[in-house]
């Protein structure tokens, strides 16, 4: 969805981003003095009056990320992140209907160019008392996992996630219509995305990836075959959900395609194969914390499992638990498994591939969050660890809020693995440290 407005293949962006990073740090006290625009609490400027014109909001941000290792597969491997970004948003009501626009403009010093992205361009309609309709470009999320997704098949941006951009960029927008129906017993969401919207997968541009065909790490630009643009190839996602006592339950279904091009045509071209899923989740209080469980059945094109070029059916499950460990320190643990169905058919037909995935992929995640200085300083740790793949992805970060406008985040994305082909292991040379400085208004 990201469109390249002006392709600027210019490396001068990198020092520019760096310079602005430093400059923004010294400018911010000046900008911050604006405060609320009304120091006096006796006046009546408590916010937007009903008839006041809508205000623009947003932020400017500069972000820089450096690799910890050389990546021999990449021609240019100095920086993993060099963004100079502005986000602008506005929303208001027209009658009873709300619209919202949110757009990013950013200069990217790694993939070289000036990019514009429409994060949100939506209209909220209320066709009836119990019905909402949201149409347009929007970010969509559901499901119970923490940075693990089973029944949420809305587009993700893994490149931004691995590069150290803000968490909000893990979710990519899609042009969709979401119809919601509510009543006392259960609520229904139906999301229709007329044009299939894939994940922004790792395509060799910023990070290299492992190619099982060649058995090598490569930065060859992966350009998969998109599904034909026909009405049948749109995506449908459905959620039926409700709450019983304090426990939230949900049933999910999806018809579309794998969000990553993990199938190969007979000619060896990558494409998105058909995927239907259904699943369920529960979430509620348990002990002093929150417990959740979710599963999803992934049914693809290869129902017998004997076509090694097309992913087999899978069962995916996750269990999670979160609670405050001591004051200001919260911990959470998740267990996640992908179980490949008809595994014996795969082993018979894949020519004894040394890169065959395990039948059961186990992943554990750990999150620790420690809040200090009145929540202005947050130390965060998140990691994925797969004992079956023997790989690890660690995401430590420190964020500091200088005031109501200015914040700084520093962190690292560190990959480690024993095998070249596993999910996180292939990105071992993509480990990086990053810093982001943001001024919000």
């Amino acid at each position: 969805m990201s469109e390249c407005f002006t392709p600027v293949t210019d490396r001068r962006l990198q020092p520019l981003v760096l310079a602005v990073t430093l400059a923004l740090g010294s400018v911010q006290p000046l900008l911050a003095s604006d405060d609320w625009g009304d120091d006096s609490w006796s006046d009546d400027r408590w916010g937007e009056e009903a008839n006041a014109s809508p205000r623009w909001h947003g932020f400017v941000e500069t972000a820089i990320g450096a690799r910890l290792d050389e990546d021999p597969a990449l021609p240019d491997d100095d920086l993993s992140l060099a963004d100079l970004r502005a986000q602008l948003e506005i929303s208001d009501y027209v009658g009873e209907n709300r619209y919202s626009l949110k757009a990013d403009l950013y200069a990217d010093g790694v993939e070289h160019g000036l990019h514009g992205e429409l994060r949100e361009a939506l209209l909220d309609l209320g066709p009836s008392q119990n019905t909402d309709l949201r149409i347009g470009q929007q970010i969509l999320t559901w499901g119970t996992g923490d940075l693990l997704f089973i029944n949420d098949l809305f587009p993700k941006d893994w490149v931004s996630y691995f590069a150290g951009r803000d968490d909000q960029y893990l979710k990519a927008p899609s042009a969709s219509a979401k119809l919601s129906y509510y009543n006392d017993k259960a609520n229904l969401d139906l999301v229709w995305t007329p044009r299939f919207t894939a994940d922004r997968f790792l395509d060799g541009e910023r990070f290299s990836y492992f190619n099982a065909m060649s058995g090598q790490q490569t930065s060859a630009h992966l350009v998969p075959i998109d599904p034909e643009d026909t009405p049948d190839n749109g995506e449908l996602a459905l959620r039926l959900y409700g709450t019983v006592d304090s426990t939230e339950w949900a049933l999910y279904a999806y018809r579309g395609f794998w969000k990553q091009p993990n199938a190969l045509t007979a000619g060896g071209d990558a494409y998105f194969s058909r995927l239907d899923t259904f699943g369920a989740s529960v979430r509620g209080n348990l002990g002093a914390g929150i417990a959740n469980a979710e599963f999803g059945w992934y049914e693809g094109e290869d129902s017998r499992g004997d076509d090694p070029r097309v992913p087999n059916d899978q069962l995916r499950v996750l269990f999670g638990y979160e609670q405050e460990l001591v004051a200001k320190l919260t911990g959470s643990l998740q267990y996640y498994q992908e179980w490949i169905q008809d595994y014996s058919a795969l082993t018979r037909t894949d020519g004894n591939s040394p890169y065959r995935p395990d039948e059961h992929r186990h992943v554990w995640t750990l999150r620790l969050t420690y809040r200090m200085l009145q929540d202005n300083l947050i130390l965060s740790w998140f990691n994925y660890w797969s004992p079956s793949d023997e790989d690890l992805f660690m995401r430590p970060s420190v964020s500091y809020r200088f005031d109501d406008s200015t914040s700084l985040v520093m962190g690292a994305n560190v990959f480690s693995g024993n095998k070249a082909h596993t999910f996180f292991g292939q990105f071992e040379d993509a480990s990086s440290v990053y810093a982001r400085l943001r001024y919000s208004f």
């Binding site: 009903a50 004051a327 009145q374 406008s405």
Partner: protein, 268 residues
Amino acid sequence: MRNLIRSLSLGVVLALAQPALAADLTDVNDIIDKANLAAYYKGTDGRSEARMVITDGQGRTQTRQFTILRYDRADGGDQDFLVAFSRPADVRNTVFMVAKHIESDDDRWLYLPSLDLVKRISAGDKRTSFVGSHYFYEDVSGRNITEDSHQLVDTTDQHYVVDNTPKDPASVEFSQYRVWIDKANMLPVKIEYKDSADRLYRRVDVLEVQDIQGHPTVTKSRVSDLVSGGNTTMEFRFIKYDVGLDSSVFTERSLRKLPRQWLRRPKS
């Protein structure tokens, strides 16, 4: 002369009757019940706009602005709260929702608009900072009165003074807190918290009370962190009770699509 005597005796009767009319309450649970209702259960529902100025020990300030909706499922019983933030920019449109239960743990959610994420928060960390302020989440929705044992330690001309001791000391950061309850309107007007070393470390002061639709209402209060020297001042405006909220407002629907009908500032 007879008139004078009559007047005098009338005066004496009235003077004697006065204490009888406003007899001091002596049952501490009765006092706490009344204070809880006066502080957290005015009308059957309410909406208010609020602002906080957070000042740290070095005098640096931050601000938060939000609108609160409240609905009482039962007087003194379960309640729903929705808190929709409008400022500053980085928390704008973030929504916090609590289903407060008397007999079981509260249910709490946080909605993060940039991710369209409905996050559930555990009930265990109610005594942590409410969006960076010196108020705790629990100060906003009210601490369950059954979680402490109460003792009436003094009855002054103006106040009932009640000491409160947690039944589960491991679940809280204080060892005891003392509340001064205004006898005239039963509102808690000062609270002092002591830690396990019997050191006073936190104080809540009510700075302003106004009559709103016949309900004495705290419109300005302050929490002071006596250790760091920081404090947060919270001010409420545009308060209205009995606006007609019902439980359907306090659902996931309102997190993802703010209930404008109720958040909108009332015309009168």
